[in-house]
Symmetry: C2
Subunit: 321 residues, 2 copies
């Protein structure tokens, strides 16, 4: 092979293993020779040569969740289209996992990371000079964010409940320690309703808790404690669970309780009665995140900013407006 | 480096690139020298050296589905425990994707494949002499299968509906062209009930269709067409969707309609009224599949057989027995 390329064996070794300087012209010669001899023993060698693996890691708290699994499905489809493979990295509440997954960038296991988790501090992301894109999270100047306009989304939900006649509502909110665009939703929701003299109880969910059992315990308590509540707002799973607790206690929807769910994942379509949702365009979020990460990996120009998409109100039978 | 190892540069190149014979003793020397010199430039080079990537591909029809996303979450957790990473490969109905993903084995992109899809013929798997494990599918002698005892599961469901007083039931069944352990469930269900003079309509779902919209159209039709039906059986999503269609048409559960769902994914816990399920131990299935694939990759002894796990009936308020 070295002979074919007209260079020394040591040079080939340096080029293939990336262990020392090899002039661009020489690299090209070696690449040509490799091709002619059908030399590349496997994808690993080729990746080593190009310093790419063609793999993007997607960090989510858990895959077993309608929002994250739909997002992941969308990312995988878009990355596949663009010639990349998708590695799943569930952090399962473990800070250490997030660190470990980010290290994969340095260790050349993946070419880029799309992160939708919230366990590490922003600082730890600042020290990484590799392609990263964030879903619904601020990670500093250098890292683009893909998210919906949560403020508008929160307002849509509030309007819908207000026009359905609600006087006292519960909203499930994200843990306050998370700095995320989604926080704007809770503020906008509360502001709209409080201005109109509607009582708002904000129930702050623990960070990284997505189990229905956890939601069920909370919802049973809330249904008992706040018997005057006539409206509920939150993401799909806590809202479905609250509906179950309320119906089990004899409440009728929408007569006694109005419901708006945020996200509008596909599973919601299988629920009776049909739920009014503020729908996030999950597939579009996934596409945008994938596009941005591939552009970063391939060194293409892009404007480094928050990509903000729109939510949409889709009426079901759980509200009256 | 060659100097440190006391071997020629060409030998190092052959060893690292795996392009020619290098004696085991010499390989060890080189490995030692690499370690001492902290030579390995990155994971890619190390993987190349060991002919491993540490990645397992998991093939599913779609990630955006409660059963597959829970299975995937379980596989990822177990593989992580064992030092492997998880690549997701959704086939999205495309035969070509399945071929492409299997080729990753030959191209050394992944070390093994866990396949839970049903688009290719068995023959195409026979020609691959690499680590493969199947979820709920027969792929010939060489490939271990992880599945539940579907026959017992189907019978459990039939018993429950019979003892709840059903006289006429619908079961949603998998497309018949799929050769899978799950087919035994449909046969056992039907056999038990027909023997006891219960009418059974088996509705065969199209292969690789998992959209709720698809289910909704079918269910609306079935509810209209078979007004005498007093029992329903199928996997979680079609059953949830049927319940929605039936309740929308004024049917009460369990008074007018008894329901048993198969799989018992977590989402079911958020549904009202609570559904009686035949629960698959999804996490255990995932653990077993992961254990088998790692053993295969690492060349460990294992008995090459179907791993059959048990289902469990968990009563909700959708049956009366």
């Amino acid at each position: 092979m070295a002979k074919k390329a007209g260079v020394g064996v040591g040079t080939v070794s340096r080029a293939v293993n990336n262990t020392g300087y090899v002039a661009l012209e020489t690299r090209k010669k070696i690449e040509r020779a490799m091709k002619e001899l059908n030399y590349t023993p496997n994808e690993l060698a080729r990746n080593l040569y190009h310093k790419r693996t063609g793999i993007v890691a997607v960090l989510v708290p858990t895959v077993a969740h309608p929002f994250f699994s739909e997002f992941l499905a969308g990312v995988e489809a878009e990355l596949h289209e663009r010639g990349y493979k998708t590695m799943i990295c569930s952090t399962n509440k473990e800070k250490n996992y997030e660190v470990e997954y980010l290290q994969m960038l340095k260790r050349h296991i993946v070419d880029g990371v799309i992160t939708g988790v919230h366990s590490l501090n922003i600082q730890e992301y600042q020290n990484i000079d590799k392609p990263i894109v964030a879903l619904d999270r601020y990670l500093g100047e250098k890292i683009p964010v893909v998210a919906v306009d949560h403020q508008a989304g929160g307002r849509m939900a509030a309007e819908e409940l207000f026009h359905s006649g609600c006087r006292s509502v519960i909203q499930f909110s994200q843990a306050k320690q998370i700095e995320a665009p989604a926080q704007a939703r809770h503020a906008a929701f509360e502001e709209y309703l409080v201005k109109r003299k509607v009582k708002v109880y904000s129930y702050e969910l623990e960070r990284n808790r997505f189990e229905i059992e956890y939601y069920l315990n909370i919802c049973k308590e809330l249904v008992e404690k706040y018997s005057d509540v006539d409206g509920i707002f939150g993401t799909d799973l806590p809202v479905m669970t609250y509906m179950k607790a309320a119906m089990s206690a004899g409440k009728r929807i929408p007569e006694d309780l109005k419901v708006v769910a945020y996200d509008g994942t596909k599973i919601i379509e299988a629920v009776y009665p049909s739920i009014t949702v503020v729908k996030q365009p999950i597939e579009k979020l996934a596409k945008e995140a994938s596009r941005l990460i591939v552009n970063k990996i391939e060194g293409k120009e892009y404007i480094n900013r928050t990509v903000e998409l729109k939510t949409e109100l889709i009426k079901g039978n759980s509200t009256l407006s």
